[in-house]
Symmetry: C2
Subunit: 229 residues, 2 copies
């Protein structure tokens, strides 16, 4: 559910710009973009878009975190990606011309800008640097997913948890990881109960610390070791 519409986020001064695909737009393009996008606040657990629907544009995350997931057997979520500020969400389906294969839902309060399909394609056509960044982004992600497939197919849940925690560390930076046990399980690809048990083991081994739902990583090196096998 959308809370309110606002125009007070500037693309030129967006604090997320530097690590975003929009960083290579020139000032004219940024100004134009600023005129032609809409920004909104979202509460926790709001959807940006739903699997099966058709994309009308892309979402540029200014603040907060968004989980991107599919639903598998019996509707169980598989979290494919957790987006952080600066990321543009939902352009894959737009580029392939298909309906969304994934859903996107906020896991915190978020500030999100919407860029229409027309505007996005205009940017892609007119700015080859932007376009190349998009292509590079797609390619990079495609490579990462090959690795994820292998991990899911071959690694034990324990190893996958180690991998997942390291990925989350990249996403959360210095902040503690703040996810429900269920989301964490759906990210790692396991049952919630199994996740809780393994988390407890890691805690007992001094690798992590937990504060209610928050997880703090104490020994990354140990996680790397566990993840590798």
């Amino acid at each position: 559910m959308l809370i309110k519409t606002y125009k007070n986020i500037s693309c030129s001064n967006c604090q997320s710009k530097s690590h975003s695909l929009i960083e290579n737009l020139n000032s004219e393009e940024l100004n134009n973009l600023e005129q032609n996008r809409g920004c909104s606040f979202y509460k926790k657990s709001d959807y940006l878009f739903l699997e099966g629907s058709y994309p009308r544009g892309v979402y540029c995350l200014n603040h907060g975190k968004v989980k991107v997931f599919t639903r598998g057997n019996e509707g169980k979520e598989q979290i494919i990606h957790i987006a952080k500020p600066g990321e543009i969400i939902g352009f894959r389906a737009m580029l392939s011309g298909d309906p969304y294969l994934v859903s996107a839902e906020t896991i915190e309060e978020c500030a999100v800008c919407f860029i229409s399909k027309d505007e996005f394609f205009k940017m892609m056509d007119s700015n080859s640097e932007f376009r190349n960044d998009i292509i590079k982004g797609l390619s990079k992600e495609l490579g990462e997913r090959a690795v994820s497939i292998t991990d899911m197919a071959q690694k034990s849940v324990r190893e996958r948890l180690a991998v997942g925690l390291l990925q989350l560390k990249e996403i959360y930076g210095t902040e503690p990881i703040n996810l429900s046990r269920e989301d964490l399980a759906n990210f790692v690809g396991t049952a919630t109960e199994t996740l809780i048990r393994l988390l407890k083991e890691f805690k007992n081994e001094g690798i992590i610390e937990t504060q209610t739902r928050k997880v703090i990583i104490l020994k990354s090196d140990k996680l790397h070791q566990l993840a590798g096998k």
Copy 2:
């Protein structure tokens, strides 16, 4: 190991062109391409490229089948994709600028054309239709891989085998599926022994038939049912 170099495959008349990314090149571009690529025969079990090395160009498969795989724990292969004639292999790493994350190896005798990096980028720059097809291809594949990740994480091996056989049916068309048990297991993401046992179950249930190593699908509808859960 490369068997011999030849120039006798014409891009304009390539029987694989119609279902290839090169189908939207104009005749001038095709002629140019034809002058600037090299074609080779490969024996079964030859590598096109190896994980970790740097791409120098892309491979256009004219005849035969190629498995694309990563190596996970203890070097076990995970087959990410099986390419059939018409497909261009290995452009992902070239576009992202990284070394290959996967290896490509022939699983039959193959005829393969090599297009250099320069040539490929030239085509991408000059022909926006070609470029868009590449972008679309990347996006489509990215979506499919999200589904694969979910399948690997959530589906039982039995379900995954059903999914895998249906995918292989698309690839092999009317021909019987002709893979070693090990490759089949590495495609489905399981141990060879488990794969064999499940294959036997499917056979007993009249869903498939086997002729030594070849697998023939008798009841696709049943497989769809099993794949869904």
